[in-house]
Assembly symmetry: C2
Homo-oligomer: 335 residues x 2
Amino acid sequence: MTSLRLLNLLSLLQTPREWPGGELAERLAVSRRTVRRDVERLRDLGYPVVATMGADGGYRLVAGTAMPPLLLDDEEAVAIAVGLVTAARHPVQGIEEASVRALAKLEQVLPSRLRHRVASLGAATVPLPGVEGFDVDPGRLTALAMAVANRERVRFRYLAADGAESARLVDPHRLVAAGRRWYLLAHDHDRDDRRLFRVDRIDDVRATGARITTTEPEDPAAYVAAKLYSGTPTYGAVVTLHAPAEDVARAVPGEVTPLDGRTCLLRASADTLDWLAFRLITLGCEFEVHEPPELVAHLRGLAARLTRASAPGTPAPAGSPPRGTPRSRRAGPPR
Amino acid sequence: MTSLRLLNLLSLLQTPREWPGGELAERLAVSRRTVRRDVERLRDLGYPVVATMGADGGYRLVAGTAMPPLLLDDEEAVAIAVGLVTAARHPVQGIEEASVRALAKLEQVLPSRLRHRVASLGAATVPLPGVEGFDVDPGRLTALAMAVANRERVRFRYLAADGAESARLVDPHRLVAAGRRWYLLAHDHDRDDRRLFRVDRIDDVRATGARITTTEPEDPAAYVAAKLYSGTPTYGAVVTLHAPAEDVARAVPGEVTPLDGRTCLLRASADTLDWLAFRLITLGCEFEVHEPPELVAHLRGLAARLTRASAPGTPAPAGSPPRGTPRSRRAGPPR
DNA sequence: GTCAGTAGGTCGGTTCCTGTCCTACATCGA
DNA sequence: TCGATGTAGGACAGGAACCGACCTACTGAC
């Protein structure tokens, strides 16, 4: 079949190197002429293959106007999936939805032998500070994304803010990420009204097979924003930073006002104190917090904890096995 | 052309929903019979398409044994690229190389109109603490990855540890990630010897077009490990954590020994104090540091900084514009 | 200049592909 | 229980596409 050969050819050409026509002909078990024709076919499909002339020339796939089908080996597929899983955990502004869509697409076709690798590797992510239960399970996210794409009614269990658990039957309309949290905008059939669900409080998602009958609001983004800002606890911080304004503006989101060449004023808001403290600490500069008082108290608590942790002269507890040959310190880094 | 239709069909089937044959026939502008035959073709290619029988049945692509070609729209491609870029910045143990390979593959064919989006979005990543210049430029990484895959000799400028800059001509053999740093294992033609280069010190990578003539060591991993452990500064930390051993083991890499049900002993090593401190703080529990003394001092300095930052009653500097209507705090989260 | 590579035209035989029939079977809902 | 609506798949004939073999033209490196 010629389609299979075309895919194989694409797969070969996607490894970033030059392929002489003879080698391609051999690998695809066809004549050189046919390889040329296949290359022409790929070009017709919109995937530009450039050929460098002369001795030791060859074919190479370059960027065109359309994305060619990506042909991945197992490891690459796992790597991409892991990347998308962490992207779902720490959504990047502007492509949150596309990340989840891509993850759902990939999950749908990912061979089962690779799934456990993705799961185990995806779990070993860099932990960012947050409250318990903050972490979104990517599987839940993709299940909901599939339902949204499929326009399919779903059932799930929901843990409300007051701790009450309930079973819901909803028409899922859209997944949105706000800050570091995911929300599902849906029509709740039991309540017969639109609701905004926090995805990390959703569990046991089950497809019903029924089609969606309700419609989403004409401006989902505005709806979500209104719901969120009226309901989510938010801490607005005002901090003086001993660092140039331009450096700060690059590093953190928020409103940065330069005070002088070496200090600036930052206004930022977040939904947890942990997160605010984390962003401030990782800036690595001196700073003073003016508001809110909760953040001042939080930082003072953290300082106390660190002081306790670095109490001088604490001996290692008995029973700890002796360390082998200690690794060298302060040696020069490799060239 | 039938290959084009097959790709389109694959593309449709990859969106996670069910497709009735009639709709597919319409979209592909062929008869129902041909759709059935195309589905059969896909199955022959190893991509399992399941069909649910009965009224409102349809076709769906499911996970098989081989990865089908991924057909992505622009946004999904950007999302994947951004995910891989951050994965290159924060390599996940075990798939570092595959991540870069996938990124190189994607970069090669990514339409130019999407590149700037990837660049700008990829820059806005969560900053993790580290020394200056720690961050690897993903573009450099993919350039080197391409050279490795292409077995092509490259030129670059290198900033040695002592600050001396030099031009190098090398045969790149392999990219390896150790901890959070990338290294290039290569044969340096000027020195005529194997060298290990830190990728963040490499600049201005340029392909020469010449083929590689040297061979990599029979056991690259061992070679790199030997080079690294003999040369890189490493801090070995010994810390008592007031958290259950199993929780800790999940959250941080290192050797965890339970002391009792609620505390454990952690041995971990890293190349910067910032990184060690960061991992300990984000655990969120009480802890005591036994070794090394540098870490104790580092934490004490951090505690002092936080104490200064949370000095009571610091008024906001004059001239700061009054904040508009303050956002609500402590209101209930949305249902 | 020579050599080794790509680019591309032509031609005949063969293969494959397509649409139109047809029947068989599964599933849901009335 | 029956009918509607879906998939599954065989048979067939006309047409389109594909393939290899041969040829010439062009390009770049040694």
